[in-house]
Structure formats: structure tokens, C-alpha cells
Amino acid sequence: MEHPPGPDDFRRLFHETNRRVYAFVRRYATESDCDDLIAEVYLAAWRHFDQLPAEPLPWLLGTARKVLANHWRSRGRRQRLAVEMAGISQLATADCATQAVDRADLVAALRRLREEDREILLLVGWDGLDSTQAAQVLHCSPQAARARLSRARKRLAECLTEAEPVTQLQLLTEAN
């Protein structure tokens, strides 16, 4: 008999994935909103435990994306983008920039990208998903995700070439 899911399985799921769900949610929500939003994601996971695939991260991030969409539905797009960029700025690892690109340039380039480009780039580059898994999060076909990723990679390279630093003050101003 297959082992039925139990609370311990759920706790294990939470402990194995919560950091990555936080890193995703924080990109699109203020620090103070994260806890409630993440709780809502895992409540959904509890209820839909039978639907979770062996690799649950794409499902969790796809659910987080819906939760965030609901969260932002009543708020302005400008505010949402400001929060997103502040989140990215906070999360971007400060000391991991390559010799070719520094962190400030990278953040500036991400800021210049279109939302859909930034979204798939971060799903792949930061969340570690492949294009098929990103497609699950974005609710599109793997082919569409691959095409979207290809375009986004090209645009990122272009934006990095054109990048000008964005100051922390700008980001904080946008976020408030």
C-alpha cells in the first residue's frame, strides 16, 4: 500500500521548500505581507496535497503566483512594480556579482525589463526551474515558455549592456 500523506509529510514539504517560496513571494510582496501570503500558499498545498507532483516547487510557486495576483488585484500596478523591485534589490546576493556585471547594474537591468521577461528570467535564474517547470508556474506550454525565455535572455543581455545604476534611494522611494 502506498504510504498515505500525513502531517509529517506536510511538515517535510514545508521545511524543504519554504525558503524558496519565501524568496519567490518576497520578490512580489512587502516583507510585512510575506507571512500571510506564504501561509495561504501552504494552506492550499494542504488542501491539494494529492495534486502535488514529485517535485512540488513549480506547483507551490504557481500557487504563490495566484495568491499574489489576488493580493495585488486591488492595488495599483505602479505600487506592485515598486515593491517587486525593492524585493529583488533586497534578495539579490551582494557579493556574488560576476566580474562582468555588478549587482547594481544587474538590478537596474532587471528593472528595465518587461514584467513578463523579468518573471521568467527569475524563475529560471533564481528559482532554479527549467523551462518546463517555469511553464507550470506560468500556466503556458513548455514551448511558449522556452520561446519566452529565449527572448528574455536576449533582452537581459541588452539591458545589461545599457544599464545605469539605480540607487537604493530610488528603490526605497518607489517602494513607499
Partner: protein, 329 residues
Amino acid sequence: MTTHLSEDTAMRALEAARPIPESVDEVWSPTRADRVLHAVLDQTTGSPRPSRQVSRRWALVAAVAGIATIGLIGQAVIPSGSVGSATPAQALDNLASHAVAITIPDGKFLKVVTTHTIEPTGTMIGGSSQDTTWYADDGWCWSTTSLSDAPEVTYRRDTWPTAEFAALLPQPMPDDPASLVDAINQRAADYVATHPPKANFVPPPSLWVALVADGAFKDVRTSAADRALLIRSLALLPNVTVDEHAVDPRGRPAVEVAVKYSDPHFPDAPQREYRLFLDGDGLVLASQIRMSGGKYYQSWITERSLVDSVPADVIKTVGSGHKTKMVTR
């Protein structure tokens, strides 16, 4: 200004800046994560939702955990009115004296529609499912289950009680309620000991008895005497209260039997309450699980009727023989 970069270099730069666990932990601390986990668990009960494809044994475990549809059946009756007693024992004794067996006339089927709702609806966790079961008088039934947020329908051909559930119900039944409670708890302990996966959720004795009684009420072959015995056994449970003048979630007059319990698996979680709404003949109208503080969490509400036939597509899908079958499509 950065010099021209290749796409691969740009992606490597992006990947190099990805949040690392150590940096995430600085803001998303283990303590904070645990707080969120407990907030989630405080709003849940039992075990995570089991697969619709799981074994009947797990379906039983889920039912005991209070998260599976508890089909609540019985013939359509008019409540007999208030039993008008002061203590749970007196109230349930009076109710037991009205207990009847379910009768399904020849050529008829008992159709029970059970709506299972998880509150709050309209949220990610909220939602509902509907289970429709057609019972024949031989104990076999057909059922369909559909979820509000999924296109699949699960068809089943089965008996009630299942063999696993029957293992919890003493046969023959003891003569008195106290012996019945002891027997159910002993069987429950044996079942837990011999079914390790079930150790994920070990209900307290009071919940075992209430759920076994609930399940036995579903069996069309349970006699009036056994129903009465089960009703009287509920009065012996710790922390039980009885409201003779309650109404069920549909506003139907009901005797409400409430059992408070704590989930042993989550000792820090709020106390829960399992409520059975019985009609005047001791048949189940509805059940609920509530969190402490009165927050409503789940409910199972039934509507019963006698019908002439089972839909042809249901019979075509799972057959009409005495063989269990489950199909999801």
C-alpha cells in the same frame, strides 16, 4: 556603462545574484518559518488531503481524521421534536428511544447528496465537493464525487461499511454503551498498532467513538437497537455536550452532539470540536468540525431522498456486481 554581454554571460550574472539560503535566513529565519507553519496547521485538521486514488484503507483513515466526506445517510424523516432533557445522558437516551432502522422499499434506492465545504470559501483553501451516493438495501452502493475546482468525477462501486471500517465496529455489539465505548477504543488501538501509516493521526478516544458511531449510522443494515446503543454511547464521551433545540447548517431542527478534542499530533494547536446534527430519529443530518473560538472549518451536509433508479452512466462506469471499483475520469 557595461560593455556588450552575451546572453549566457547575462544569465550567469543573474544566477550568481540569486538569493542563497544564508541570505534568506537573515530575514526569513527558521523561527519565522515555524511561526508560519504553525499558523497553517492551526487552520487545518487531521491530515493533508489524500489522493482520490488512494486505497479504501486510507479513505477510512481520512474519514477518522475528519477530512473525508462522511456520507451521512438515513431515510427522510420529520424530526420528532425536542427530547426536553437536561443532561447529555438523558437527552441522548430519549433520542435513542426514537431510533429507527433505515428502510429502503423494494425497487427503490436511497439517494444521499452530501456537500462537503471547507471554509472560508472563495479563498485558496476554501472550496467544496459533492458526493452523491445511491444505496441499495443489500449494503452496496454507487457513488460519484466531484470537486468544485476540478473537472474530474470519481465513480465508485462499494459497500458500506468497508471492511476496514467494519473492523472498528464490534460485531456482535455489546449490550451496554460503556462496553461499546471500551470495545471501539480497543479496536481503534489495535487498528492503529497494526496500520503504521495511520499513526500519523491517532484520534483521541472520544473522537474515535463519535466517528465510528457516525459511520455506523450510514450503514443501511444497522438495526434500530444498534443505533440506539450507539447514540447512548455518545453520552459517555468526555467533554460531550448536547443541545436538544439546535438547528443544522441548513436550518433543520436537530439534536446537536458536540465533542471537544485536541489533535494529539499538534498539541499546541487550538482545541477542535466535532459536531453531529441528528434528526429526531437519530439519523445524521450534518456534521461539522470547528476550531476553538467558534471558527467554522468544515461541514458535511446531507439531503436524502428515495429514488427509483441509479443513473445509467454511473452503472455503466462501475458496474452493478458485488465487486468494488473506482474510476476517475
